[in-house]
């Protein structure tokens, strides 16, 4: 049983745990690669609002890699970061979203989002373990940029609450995907895979910044 499992009270049978993170991560990857159905209508009523909001973070690769990086880093840091970050991130993101809705300008939002991928990816790649409050500030600061980008889209939705719920849940599931993949870090080979994933995310951030 690794440290992450011990801290979260996972009482697994003695012969099963070593392959479990790999199995979970593989399952998560398979789910992520499932083809999405095509929707003829979007933005109509509560269901349309929810679907629009749910899709919004998924259609922006810069959002996707940054959110997965948050989950990866949380899993890498272990408790309490693994659960503090997914709770704090949506609330800080909502604050950024509120600024976007209110029309408060934040300069260089897209640069901030690309930078979030670089910084968070590097944190994972370098296996950085700063104090939890430092990690929370780093993640929180970038959450404002992501939230602002989502918030500016909100007024165009048919149902504002459904749209918001959709994109918050979608973002949370991306974190969860990152956490599940990050659990590979409890396995010696998986640790290198996770760090390599962080490096790929950082490089993707550089590409976003360049384009």
């Amino acid at each position: 049983m690794n440290e992450v499992q011990k801290e979260h009270g996972m009482n697994l049978p003695p012969h099963t745990p070593r392959l479990q993170p790999a199995t979970i991560a593989l399952g998560a990857l398979m789910l992520l690669t499932l083809a999405e159905p095509a929707f003829a209508h979007s933005g109509e009523g509560a269901a349309g609002g929810f679907i629009s909001g749910f899709q919004h973070p998924l259609f922006g690769l810069d959002h996707v890699v940054a959110m997965v990086a948050v989950g990866l880093w949380g899993a890498f840091l272990g408790a309490p970061a693994i659960w503090i970050l997914p709770i704090v991130f949506p609330m800080v993101m909502a604050f950024g979203g509120a600024l976007g809705v209110a029309g408060v300008p934040i300069p260089h939002v897209e640069v901030g989002i690309a930078t979030s991928a670089i910084v968070l990816g590097l944190m994972v790649a370098l296996a950085a373990r700063p104090p939890i409050w430092v990690a929370a500030i780093i993640v929180g600061a970038f959450a404002i940029f992501h939230g602002h980008a989502h918030g500016t889209e909100l007024p165009h939705s048919a149902n504002a609450l459904a749209y918001s719920l959709g994109f918050v849940i979608s973002t949370g599931l991306l974190h969860l995907g990152g956490i599940v993949i990050g659990l590979l870090a409890g396995w010696e080979f998986g640790r290198y895979v996770v760090r390599a994933g962080g490096a790929v995310i950082a490089m993707a951030g550089v590409a976003f910044l360049a384009t």
Binding site: H8, G9, M10, N11, A46, G49, F50, W83, P86, I87, V88, P90, M91, M93, A94, F95, G97, A98, L99, V101, A102, G103, G147, H150, G151, L154, P155, N159, A160, L161, A162, S164, L165, V168, I169, G172
Partner: protein, 200 residues
């Protein structure tokens, strides 16, 4: 407790057997009357999220207080009907009241490590009032209102008891963390829409 459950069940059955009003709209094609009224809170995001947050509050409270929370929610539903008739102007501020109550309740459900009944039960009652203010019969009669309130109460009871009871079991810690994450999602969505409502 068993006798009260029997009285409750008989009351619900009796109310559901009353003549169903004509529905102006059908949420699910072919489903009308009392079952349609029961589906109403499940298809309205603002009502559903309020009920789910109430269930999270009930389930995260120690000692377990699912039953008192259900009673508090029911009282809130009834109080809301009195408010609707006595203070109709309150409905003009409905959306703002909903968002403020939702954000406060969800933030407390997400951030507090340990919830206690004196905090959670009043919040559940307030959420009951919020849902109740948006619960109206399809017709103008007392019977119509009674059916709508009973149907909403039944749906809310199902969600609060199922989710609340599940959360109140001695699960590993991550189950409580998951409940807090869901509450954080509700709070975040509420903050966004509150900003939107304040702007417009």
């Amino acid at each position: 407790m068993t006798r009260w459950a029997a009285v409750f069940a008989v009351s619900v059955i009796a109310i559901s057997q009353q003549s169903a009003p004509a529905c102006a709209h059908q949420l699910v094609p072919g489903v009308t009357g009392f079952p349609a009224l029961m589906l109403h809170p499940l298809f309205l995001p603002h009502q559903l999220v309020c009920i789910v947050v109430a269930a999270l509050l009930a389930g995260r409270t120690r000692p377990a207080s699912v039953a008192p929370s259900i009673y508090a929610f029911g009282l809130g539903l009834v109080a809301a009907q009195w408010l609707r008739s006595s203070l109709p102007w309150i409905l003009t501020h409905y959306w703002m009241a909903l968002l403020i109550a939702l954000v406060i309740s969800a933030v407390i459900a997400a951030l507090l490590e340990r919830l206690i009944p004196p905090i959670s039960i009043p919040l559940v009652a307030v959420l009951g009032v919020i849902v109740g203010l948006d619960t109206a019969g399809e017709g103008p009669t007392f019977s119509d209102t009674l059916q709508a309130v009973a149907a909403t109460f039944l749906s809310a009871t199902a969600i609060i008891s199922a989710l609340g009871w599940t959360l109140s079991r001695p699960w590993p810690r991550w189950v409580d963390i998951l409940a807090r994450v869901i509450a954080a999602w509700a709070a975040a969505a509420g903050v966004m829409v509150l900003a939107f409502a304040l702007k417009t």
